[in-house]
Amino acid sequence: MGYGVLEQEFKVEEKVRGIRDEVHIKVKNLSVYYRKRLAISDINIEFLKNKITAIIGPSGCGKSTLLRSINRMNDLIPDATVIGKVYLDGIDIYDKSVDPVAVRAVIGMVFQRPNPFPMSIYDNVAFGVRINRLAKDREELDKKVEDALRKAALWDEVKDRLDTHAYELSGGQQQRLCIARALAINPKVLLLDEPTVSLDPVSTAKIEELLYKLKSELTIIIVTHNMLQAARVSDFTAVMMPNEKLVGTLIEYGPTKEVFTNPKDKRTEAYISGRVG
């Protein structure tokens, strides 16, 4: 629904601006252990600026683990050990001088299930702005909240009831609220961990459309179970697969079209055609 048009628009845009493949996030020799169990091993991947990269693969292949390593959410899991490096604009975010809290303010994240805070719609979006002290006064805060809700394509639906409790929104609206909440603090990167898995097709379509519009402003990395979704929204696709020891590895990475039409790895082909996973 409407993607064809968007895709064409995007192509025109690409021609006008020229393709600039700037590396935004670089993951180097990344391995993650939970206790002593190796979850993902030796991942090397570069995420390009203002592109949407989809990470696909069967359950338990370490997609989410990789995603959580990019904004240091793995730090919050007791017994998780991260080895290797993740560079954001050339800075190693695992360096001792880097504050993980600051990393998470620059690299936003949206989760599988919508998780709005138990407060009003306005307060949900304002939360990050307030704690990161990004607004000088109420006026600026109002503006940031409005901007974020507009970007998340939610403003028109909620502008008259910003004070209502966020739980009164539908599931799809709640997820867009979570996206708005993340956008309100102007992150450079947005990570999405299966953001539409609990939503109906219409809400899913809205969010996919939204991601298309957002990539002119930020780099988007989306983990998804849904291969069609990856094919629809992403510019690049990374395929992960557990090896014989059930350790997640990156088996293929490239422009989405190539990965889906002409995969280099046989396992990718099997996975995409539905024979594995």
């Binding site: 809290v101 936003g108 989760f111 299930r113 805070f117």
Partner: protein, 289 residues
């Protein structure tokens, strides 16, 4: 053959299905009978003695004039101060255990200890309070000592219920906060506590109703004294409602026993009121979600 086996099995199941509810309901019936007869006895003996004088008069050797005003004040003082002590300590303990201490073993060790603390007979608390607080620290047989003892008596209840309230806050919300660059304290303060507070209050009110009904430790600390003055400071001597009732029940005159029944009705009404407040809070909580 198969058909017969099936038929027997089915009959046994049907019989069990019929009789089990009856067997279980016997337990319920006994409980209702017991509590019902108690309530009936108290109402019959005490209802006609309910009056404003019961609330506003001082105790007296004349049962016609006797009231429980000092005991009501004593209960308000002790339960009030004990709540002021147990609530912050209990909630702080729960926050530490659930939000900060990463060590699962420490948490379960402390939780076992809290639960056994809840199982200690309340008289023991009274004895320790009298020996240590009243005599060793020289606080006397005062409201303050009674409050501290009640506070520690209800502390496990407050802590455990606060802990349950914090556990009921989904981790998704905490992760959402972290993903926005919030620190742990910011998440606790702005997301976790507001969400957990109604349930914490529910547990605390239940703990308070236990404190109101406690007689044994207060009996040890205060002694069975005849108080004719309204306490004005935490260091005053005091009595509480259950103790006043105990005093009346142990008198030989029938009139005093009737008075005690009327007092019990009052105490029960107070407890019902507190429980109603709990239910109301829980209702508000479920509506907000």
């Amino acid at each position: 053959m198969g058909h017969q086996v099936l038929a027997i099995r089915n009959r046994r199941k049907v019989i069990l299905d019929i009789y089990m509810p009856i067997i279980y309901s016997i337990g319920l019936f006994i409980a209702i009978l017991f509590i019902g007869s108690l309530l009936l006895y108290i109402t019959v003996t005490g209802a006609h003695r309910l009056s404003w004088e019961l609330l506003t008069n001082f105790p007296s050797s004349n049962p016609k004039q006797a009231g429980m005003l000092p005991a009501i004040y004593g209960t308000i003082w002790t339960v009030g101060i004990s709540t002021l002590i147990s609530l912050p300590i209990g909630i702080a303990t729960a926050i530490y255990l659930n939000e900060y201490s990463g060590m699962e073993k420490l948490r379960s060790f402390l939780q076992i200890n809290l639960n056994s603390l809840a199982g200690v007979p309340s008289v023991i608390f009274g004895v320790v309070g009298l020996g240590f607080l009243s005599y060793t620290l020289g606080l006397g047989r005062s409201i303050l000592v009674g409050s501290i003892v009640l506070a520690f008596l209800t502390l496990p209840l407050v802590t455990v219920s606060s802990l349950e309230a914090l556990k009921a806050v989904p981790d998704d919300l905490r992760l959402g906060g972290y993903a926005l660059g919030a620190t742990r304290w910011e998440i606790i303060k702005s997301i976790v506590l507001p969400r957990a507070l109604p349930m914490m209050l529910t547990g605390s009110i239940l703990a308070t109703s236990r404190a109101i009904g406690e007689a044994a430790p207060i009996l040890i600390i205060s002694g069975l004294v005849f108080i004719r003055e309204i306490p004005t400071s935490p260091l005053d001597r005091f009595t509480v409602m259950p103790l006043q009732l105990y005093n009346w029940i142990s008198r030989p005159q029938v009139e005093f026993r009737e008075l005690a029944s009327a007092g019990i009705i009052l105490l029960l009404l107070l407890l019902i009121l507190l429980n109603a407040a709990t239910i109301y809070l829980r209702y508000r909580l479920s509506k907000r979600r």
